[in-house]
């Protein structure tokens, strides 16, 4: 019986559109048009228009059922020029019009100062601004910290640079949003990202992050609330949406991201998904149903004595890193910082996106 291939595994290639029309079959949703794709999430054969509808409706539903926005909110869309944030900008503008959310949308880009990566992707964001007619703010590390990532890498090398980048970007997004007078931030983290982060946090034993990483809104205390409208959206469907809508996006990985450990988790998730496509949602469902022991209390929030940013120590991570960078100690201090941070799990900055979790990965690699 083991020789029979399970039907679920035949879905592996379901992200690619079906080339030949399947014997006069009709779209499973509207029963009118010819199906052009098989939905990764459900395996349904559907037409392009129906795909757009279900894709957008699901996001609308996520937004409405989680009360992500109020009328009159000023929402900054974290825009990197990549596929997730490009589709996010498209869908947010579209839904805002279609359902009359009454939101003021802004594009907010962070320029880390990585030649050949960020400068190109920023061009994409600028074109998006033209297309969607949303105000765009670009904020650079140079402006904020007086260091570009290129300079930081030159100073400290390729080990630990992602820590800097992650810590700086988290703050930079907040600061940019404040400049734009936005009261909310949305990021393009999708279901795959979240499932991967759940696995990573389990593997690292990072309980505070595990607790936070499936929240659809984070950073509600003091800092700007940040939400993920794509929490239940499959990466493959985002790619499909961008592909069929011919959206203009930039698709290169950061040149400084080594990501060995996260890479393992990512490959593993891909393999799992090939066996059972619902696995991504299933992992999120698991994490939503985790119950934590009482003792895992969140550390107390306060403000950084240097920059006022919300943090759990006297000085925030960014200021701390910056101080070392400016005094030329960064290389030495980095590992100590990371270890301490890992130990007391006090790095309670208000986000849990990919970038923040990268930092802890280094600890593991060093072990």
């Amino acid at each position: 019986m083991d020789n029979t291939t399970p039907t679920t595994t035949t879905n592996v290639e379901n992200s690619t559109p079906i080339k030949k029309k399947s014997g006069g079959k009709l779209c499973e949703l509207c029963n009118v048009a010819r199906p052009v794709l098989k939905r990764p999430k459900t395996g349904q054969m559907i037409c392009k228009e129906c795909f757009y509808t279900v894709f957008e409706d699901e996001i609308h539903h996520t937004i409405v059922s989680n009360n992500l926005f109020k009328r009159g909110d000023r929402v900054a869309i974290g825009a990197s020029g990549g596929k997730d944030s490009t589709v996010l900008a498209e869908v947010m503008t579209l839904l805002n019009k279609k359902y009359d959310y009454g939101l003021d949308l802004f594009l907010l880009s962070i320029d880390e100062g990585i030649t050949g990566y960020r400068d190109d992707s920023l061009e994409t964001v600028k074109r998006n601004q033209q297309q969607y007619q949303i105000p765009l703010k670009i904020l650079s590390y140079k402006e904020l910290y007086n260091w570009t990532m290129d300079e930081i890498v030159k100073e400290i090398g390729l080990k630990g640079n992602c820590t800097f980048c992650g810590v700086f970007r988290r703050q930079a997004l907040d600061r940019g949003a404040v400049i734009l007078k936005a009261n909310k931030i949305v990021t393009g983290h999708n279901a795959d990202d979240i499932a991967e982060t759940v696995l990573m946090n389990l593997l690292r034993g990072d309980i505070p992050r595990l607790q936070r990483c499936v929240n659809i809104v984070t950073g509600s205390e003091g800092a700007l609330p940040r939400s993920k409208p794509f929490k239940y959206t499959y990466q493959k469907e985002i790619v499909m949406y961008a592909y069929f809508k011919k959206l203009d996006y930039f698709s290169t990985e950061c040149i400084y991201a080594p990501n060995a450990y996260r890479g393992h988790a990512r490959d593993f998730l891909k393999d799992l998904e090939a066996i059972r496509p619902s696995v991504i949602i299933d992992i999120i469902h698991s994490a939503e149903n985790f119950h934590f022991r009482e003792e895992n209390k969140m550390p107390v929030q306060r403000n950084c004595i240097q920059c006022g940013y919300i943090c759990s120590n006297d000085v925030c991570m960014a200021c701390d890193l910056l101080k070392n960078l400016n005094s030329g100690l960064a290389k030495v201090k980095l590992s100590i910082n990371l270890k301490r941070k890992d130990k007391d799990n006090n790095n309670n900055n208000n986000s849990n996106n990919n970038n923040t979790t990268l930092s802890n990965q280094l600890v593991i690699e060093q072990k």
Binding site: D2, T8, G205, Y232, H264, L272, F290, H291
Partner: protein, 579 residues
Amino acid sequence: MSLLDSIQSIVFNSKSINRVSINSAQCTKIDCHLSHSDGGNKSSAIGLLYVWYMSTHEEELPSCGSNDNDVNNTVPQSTRRSQLNLQDNTKCAKCVFNIINNTTKQKEKEKKEKKQQQKKKGSADDTAAAAAVTAVEEQPQVSEIIESAKDAIGKPIVHFRSESLCWECYKDLMLKKFRTNIVKARESKREAEKLLIALSGGTCSMVVAELLRQCIDGLGKSKMFFDIQCVHVDESLLYPYYQYQETLEYLRELTASFGFPFHVVPLENIYGTDPSTAESRRSRLIDSFKNVSSNTSKEDMIVYYREHLLSQTAHTLGCNKVVLGTSSNRLASKLVASTSKGRGFTVPNETSVVIEQPTNNIKFYQPLRDLLLKEIYIYYRHLRLREAPVIHPFTETKPKNSINTLCDDFLHCLQDISNQTVHTLLRSVDKLISPSVNSEFICSMCLSPLTSTEINAIESKKNSNNSSASSNSNECCSTNNSKSDQCCSTTSTSTTNGGCCSSDNNNNNSNNNSNNNLVQTLCYSCRILYGDIKQKESLAPYVKENSKTLLTTNQLKNEIKDFLLEDDQDEDEDEGETK
């Protein structure tokens, strides 16, 4: 001949294991990476390789991975580096520690006496000087002590979590660790508790039997009182393997030598125990598994069926506890696999030393939770029990066969990269709990408690076929609820009054309807499994019975609920915790 070559030749020349693949990078540490199968046969094969390895490479100590958070480490951490020269692997750290400890205790005694004598004499300067002298003296003495007690220090056989240990000390340590977990689970010290050991034929469960025997015999402190029986659930009908007869024979002899009664329960007994229908049950079981579309669901179904049979057997034998030989590797893998299957709510319970079963009084124990597979093999080998036959299945399974095998493979690779992986994962799950929201409401298939959302859905159940067809249940994420409601409203033929609803709704004989009712009493993960079963009739009868009971109880409760005085705190999911 290189190590790799030799292992490969031994592996490929031996007929019983031909599926072992070895990564050359791992060879120095003799990590054999097996292609996949269930726990039992994998462990035996690794065990066999290990035995062979040890016979040829006595001088190199096997290392199992360090764990600094282990409270049961033999040697206190503070004294480890200062007093002992641990670089050298020729002396057992525990023996050395004991000797030094004893002598220093003696010294302290002498010192105290000296001090008292000096106090009598007076002068404070003298005492300070004396202390300085003893401090200087002590340094060379450690090596002297070790040298003088040379014969009492054992030759290490294993590098256990940063210490080299001799066989005697290792044996004590394993028993100590095992006893700690067994004591945790014990309810009464005086009465002989009735335990049922589940023997798979693999190394781990045999080690459990051996350790329990030692507890009864009173090795390591006090005697423990247990009344022990053994059971082997025979799954060979679905997963046939070589040396089947030999394995059963071996288990029979081993248990007989321990004096434990031994029972074999075939998996087809899930459909009943009447001997006259045995043949038809066998074909029914085979047919029912042919109708399951995914390997993951097949494997999971076997596990649930096995657990059901174990509980049932324990019940008939009057045992209230079932002891499993699950190692930390296996539990870590289960954590990842269960999380991937949407079992986040119950995974903390599933991976703890004592698995609480809310409905019946039978508990499952996993006393080997703190031990790595490798540590268990090394122990097993040195016990020098009669060699167990290697369980090797007819059909090969690849890592990508199912979610379970993939998780095993993934963790095996990660454990190679960092030997903390398994411990870290178990530490993660230690921080989680499974609140049993309302213990009456359990999943009909896997018997784990349902979440409050699922319970609410049952309680507020209306007359209609509420959940849309099972095929759809896969994608239903928590936010899609309203959507599935929409589908219902269009498909359901009879919509009814909410409130105190009727009694005539449930057993409408309509097949579809009863299937939908059944889905309602399944947990999130079992709904996915249920969706993979094409012929719903082939499901084991216990699932349907459980479902019926649950729905009937719920319905009865609904009818009399206005007259019940105190009940229902199911709203507060977060507060209704067990501990």
